[in-house]
């Protein structure tokens, strides 16, 4: 799967844009560091969405600049993060320390944490190492069952790292270093993914177009930012993104880049759809049917766009491909989230608190992934090839 990664595009573009990605180490402590402690995650609120909310609080352009500066100042720090053995190693702690970096997707954090597991492992045989890795990934998955990308990232990492026949013929140390190399490479690819997608999608944004976006997707933001840097003239309609107002945040960031932005309430999508040329959404997870699981409201936007023959583009990194196959909206692990209606909810009234919905593949036009621009049906093909 990753052999076919389109990341070569990055290398081509690297000359033009020296500063590409920033996975920084010196991240300022996030405001909600406390939640890292609640390991079994007892409350029904989806940890995934809490993390997202925490990140949204601080992903600002100023912060990114700082982070970049920090990376440039200490370019060699990345390698020194490997934990000092001695104290009992915990995947969750490692994962949380990675997760606190706002620009790092949860799956990438998990991948890095798992790579750290390999590094810290004291196993002496391949089998032991594999079991240890399996245990770690299971712990991670159990930490937050609602996060699709976390689960998918862990699964893919396991497949990618352990699926090599060459391991059986080597002595343990070289095999381990090989596994470690693969793990690093996987982390690298995952980090670059967003950049690759941004570059791939440039062909689809033309001058004078109007783009509807929903929610705050870091990939979509990257795409729009790249287009703006490429001097494309376009207009963006942002939905409000209730209840956590992610759309407002995105609108603010886009306005900083001097992109004309208009903010809509979520229920005005159909009203303004006729002036829209294309819809861009991110994804929490891409499922086997080729459909996506994304923030609540994506499904209805896709439905409206489909009925008005507007293309719906999904930007998603390939580590979000999950072996799930929901048949309908309710066929999912529910991810709940507090809903703030700004007014006291009357008693005896039930509140729908689900945070995401499932958009079936027939309403999607294309998926922009780091494997290339795919039609929805290719997702399943890639997954079959990877898992079988």
């Amino acid at each position: 799967m990753w052999r076919s990664s389109a990341s070569f595009i990055l290398d081509k573009h690297l000359n033009n844009k020296p500063i590409s990605i920033t996975h920084s180490i010196d991240s300022p402590p996030p405001p909600s560091a406390s939640m890292a402690d609640e390991n079994p995650n007892p409350n029904p609120i989806s940890a995934y969405y809490e993390t997202r909310a925490a990140h949204h609080g601080i992903v600002t352009s100023e912060w990114l600049e700082q982070a970049q500066a920090a990376v440039q100042r200490y370019p060699d720090r990345e390698n020194s993060v490997s934990p000092v053995s001695g104290s009992p190693f915990s995947v969750i702690e490692e994962f949380n320390s990675w997760r606190q970096q706002p620009d790092l997707a949860e799956a990438v954090a998990a991948i890095r944490a798992l790579a750290a597991v390999i590094r810290a492992s004291e196993a002496t045989t391949m089998m032991e190492l594999e079991i240890e890795l399996k245990k770690a990934s299971d712990t991670l998955k159990a930490w937050d069952t609602t996060s699709i990308s976390l689960t998918a990232g862990c699964d893919l990492f396991m497949r990618y790292v352990t699926r090599t026949s060459a391991l059986e013929f080597e002595d343990f140390n070289s095999a381990k270093s090989r596994v470690l190399g693969r793990a690093e490479k996987f982390g690298e690819i995952s980090c670059k993914a967003r950049r690759v997608i941004a570059i791939l999608s440039q062909d689809f944004i033309f001058d004078g177009c109007t783009i509807l976006v929903h929610g705050f997707s870091r990939v979509v933001f990257e795409i729009l930012k790249t287009s703006a840097q490429n001097k494309k003239l376009f207009r963006v309609l942002c939905t409000e993104g209730r209840p956590d107002k992610t759309g407002v945040l995105l609108a603010k960031e886009l306005a900083k880049l001097d992109i004309p932005v208009k903010l809509l309430i979520d229920s005005a999508v159909a009203y303004s759809m006729d002036e829209v040329d294309m819809v861009f959404v991110g994804a929490d997870g891409v499922v086997e049917s080729g459909g996506i699981i994304n923030m609540m409201g994506t499904y209805q936007i896709a439905l409206v766009a489909h009925s008005m023959n507007k293309p719906v583009y999904v930007a998603a990194e390939s580590y979000k491909f999950a072996r799930l196959y929901p048949l309908d909206q309710k066929d999912l692990e529910p991810a709940l989230r507090p809903n703030d209606f700004n007014v006291p909810v009357p008693p005896k009234v039930e509140v729908e608190r689900s945070a995401r919905d499932y958009t079936p593949p027939q309403y999607l036009t294309l998926l922009f992934t780091d494997l290339g621009v795919l039609t929805p049906s290719v997702v399943s093909d890639e997954l079959i090839q990877l898992y079988l």
């Binding site: 086997e288 196959y325 048949l327 049906s377 399943s380 079959i384 090839q385 898992y387």
Partner: protein
């Protein structure tokens, strides 16, 4: 050359045992036909030795080949065809005698057989035994319009026998080579180019002349150019002689081809009368065809059921080449005792296991090839009993592939053991094991409070429901059924015995009942490359109603049933059931409206067995490789077949 020749001599006898037609009647009739066809032509040739040939032509083959060969009549259809073709050409006698020149030349010598033997030895190793002639005759039939070679052979025939023997030795030889050659020559580039050039030249000339008299000149130019082209022949011939010999060599294994022709094609077009007649001649099962058939479905076989069973049962001890296990399975197919894709496939494979167990390689034969031939003949018998399902086709392909891939170094017992274990593994992994995996996947989709609809009696779905019940999931089952088979009642019985709450209805009520359904589980006979599900008739109807009600449709199908074919409708490939099954209602004597009308020319019964559901109506296909959308079927077919070849 020698080394190539020898194996063929070994291969030849194999042909004789292929084909399970023991009844001598069709054969004798065919030989009679043969004689009828051969007789008049020598008469027209009116050369005394030739007239004696026609019987000798038939008695000739026993020289090289033991008697059973005659009965199996492998080369005869070929010859008959050749004769037919050549006689259709107007100067038939020439081409015909040309075709026969080889045997003629040799047999005219009075001590024919001996001399022939020596001739074969002395003149050239290339001179082939009968298969070669078969080949030759084929080539000649094609090339019958080439007069030159025909002329030379006439001279051969008229030559006194003694002389002809030695003189014609080489000539016949060369003729033999020339014939395939000359037929190729007809279409060689050189000639065509010459004609083209001539035409071009004519055009140029016409232009130069100012368009005065083109037709005549161009014709003459063309003719001359053709003449020019003719001398060019020999030179190319020399180059190609060896090639031609090689070609005859390859074609010379007529056995393989013929045997393939033996088995009726799985999708034979039954509205092609000549083929049907041919197939019937070979058939063991004498099915009587139904008279009134629906126009669109004439290409499918339709038989009056129930007539042939006793007849076949009596034949049980006569059918020598048929293995009893295969015979039993065939009869069970015929009577309908075994139905359902998996059951039929497993029964067939187990019969094949028996075959392998009892198999011993005949002397001078190759296990790989002989076994494949045997399996082919059994398969054609099974097809006569009931058309193959796609899953069975895949299983047969697997078995044949395994046989072909057997290492030549294995001893017979080892090979047999390997084969048996391979078949065993196929049954266990691809059918039984696959069902387990499907059940495991599908159960995750069943939630408390579900109302599940199923149609007919798919085995995989039954296992899923039972397993979900064992897991204490609370759900209700709606069994939809249809006439005439009413398989759903069997399923219903088994489900109720386990204490699952069920509703039973017929497909007529599907649109009423669908609104309360939460999921539809269907089985499939096959899933095709474009995601089309080929299944029990009525499935498409259920799937369409379900998708109209926005109820997810889950199709459970083992991956070995996937096929790379693409089918858009259920017409071109289907199976017709017994028309009586729909015209009569058993146990209801009061419903007799159609009595006495079954043979009415205005009444046609259509009892289709399968239909094709387009992939649009299918939400998910559950296979042993997981849950996939119908668009991913080609990927699985690709991966699966790769595995097939590698394992």
């Amino acid at each position: 050359m020698e080394s190539r020749r020898n194996p063929r001599a070994v291969v030849d006898p194999k042909v004789r045992q292929v084909g399970f037609f023991t009844s001598s009647q069709p054969d004798s009739s065919s030989t009679q036909q043969q004689q009828q066809q051969t007789d008049p032509i020598p008469a027209s040739a009116s050369s005394p030795p030739v007239s004696t040939i026609s019987p000798s032509g038939n008695s000739l083959s026993p020289v090289m080949i033991p008697p059973p060969r005659l009965n199996s009549s492998d080369t005869f259809p070929l010859r008959g065809a050749a004769a037919g073709a050549s006689s259709a050409v107007s100067p038939s006698s020439f081409s015909y005698s040309n075709r026969r020149d080889f045997p003629d030349g040799s047999t005219t010598a009075s001590p024919g057989r001996h001399s022939r033997g020596s001739f074969v030895k002395s003149s050239a190793p290339v001179a082939s035994s009968l298969p070669g002639i078969g080949m030759d005759s084929m080539a000649a039939a094609k090339s019958s319009s080439v007069p030159a070679s025909g002329l030379t052979t006439v001279s051969v025939v008229t030559m006194p026998p003694g002389l002809a023997e030695k003189a014609s030795g080489m000539e016949v030889q060369s003729d033999q080579k020339k014939n395939p050659k000359s037929l190729k020559e007809k279409t060689t580039k050189a000639e065509r180019r010459a004609i083209q050039e001539a035409q071009r030249a004519a055009k140029a000339a016409a232009k130069a002349d100012g368009g005065k008299v083109p037709p005549g000149t161009s014709a003459s130019v063309a003719s001359t150019s053709v003449k020019v082209a003719k001398p060019a022949k020999p030179s190319t011939q020399k180059n190609e002689v060896s090639v031609a010999a090689g070609v005859t060599e390859k074609k010379g294994g007529p056995s393989e081809k013929d045997r393939k022709k033996d088995a009726p094609h799985p999708r034979m077009q039954y509205d092609d009368e000549s083929r049907v007649v041919k197939a019937k001649r070979r058939a063991v099962v004498k099915q009587t065809e139904a008279k009134n058939r629906v126009e669109l479905f004439r290409h499918l076989p339709q038989y009056e059921h129930g007539t042939q069973l006793p007849d076949l049962e009596t034949k049980f001890f006569q059918l020598d080449p048929m293995h009893p296990a295969v015979y039993k399975v065939g009869l069970q197919y015929l009577s309908g005792d075994i139905s359902g894709g998996n059951a039929r496939c497993i029964a067939m494979l187990q019969a094949f296991q028996e075959v392998v167990k009892d198999y011993s390689t005949p002397p001078e034969k190759n296990l790989n090839r002989d076994m494949t031939a045997k399996i082919s003949s059994y398969v054609s018998f099974l097809i006569e009993c009931r058309p193959l399902s796609i899953s069975m086709g895949n299983a047969i392909r697997f078995v044949k592939n395994r046989i072909a891939k057997l290492p030549i170094t294995l001893s017979e017992s080892e090979a047999k053991a390997a084969l048996q274990s391979d078949i065993e593994r196929f049954i266990n992994d691809k059918i039984i094991g696959a069902d387990m995996v499907i059940v495991k996947h599908a159960v995750t989709k069943i939630r408390d409070g579900d109302v599940l609809l199923t149609y007919g009696s798919p085995t995989a779905v039954e296992m899923i429901l039972l397993h979900a019940h064992e897991l204490k999931k609370k759900f209700r089952v709606l069994v939809v059924d249809s006439r005439p088979k009413l398989e759903g009642q069997l399923l219903l019985r088994r489900l109720i015995k386990r204490g699952i709450s069920c509703t039973y209805t017929h497909i007529n009520a599907i649109s009423y009942i669908m609104h309360e359904v939460t999921k539809v589980f269907l089985g499939a006979s096959s899933v095709l490359s474009n995601g089309t599900v080929y299944s029990r008739v009525g499935t498409a109807c259920v799937a369409m109603v379900a998708s109209a009600f926005r109820v997810p449709v889950l199709v459970c199908c083992e991956a070995y049933k996937f096929h790379e074919r693409v089918q858009l409708d259920s017409i071109c490939s289907n199976e017709l059931g017994d028309p009586n099954a729909i015209s009569k209602v058993h146990g209801r004597e009061d419903i007799n409206y159609l009595d006495g009308l079954t043979n009415n020319a205005n009444l046609q019964f259509l009892n289709l067995m399968y239909d094709a559901t387009p992939s649009d109506y299918i939400s998910m296909i559950i296979t042993d490789y997981g849950m996939v959308p119908p668009t991913s079927v080609p990927v699985i077919v690709r991966e699966y077949q790769k595995e097939h070849l590698l394992v």
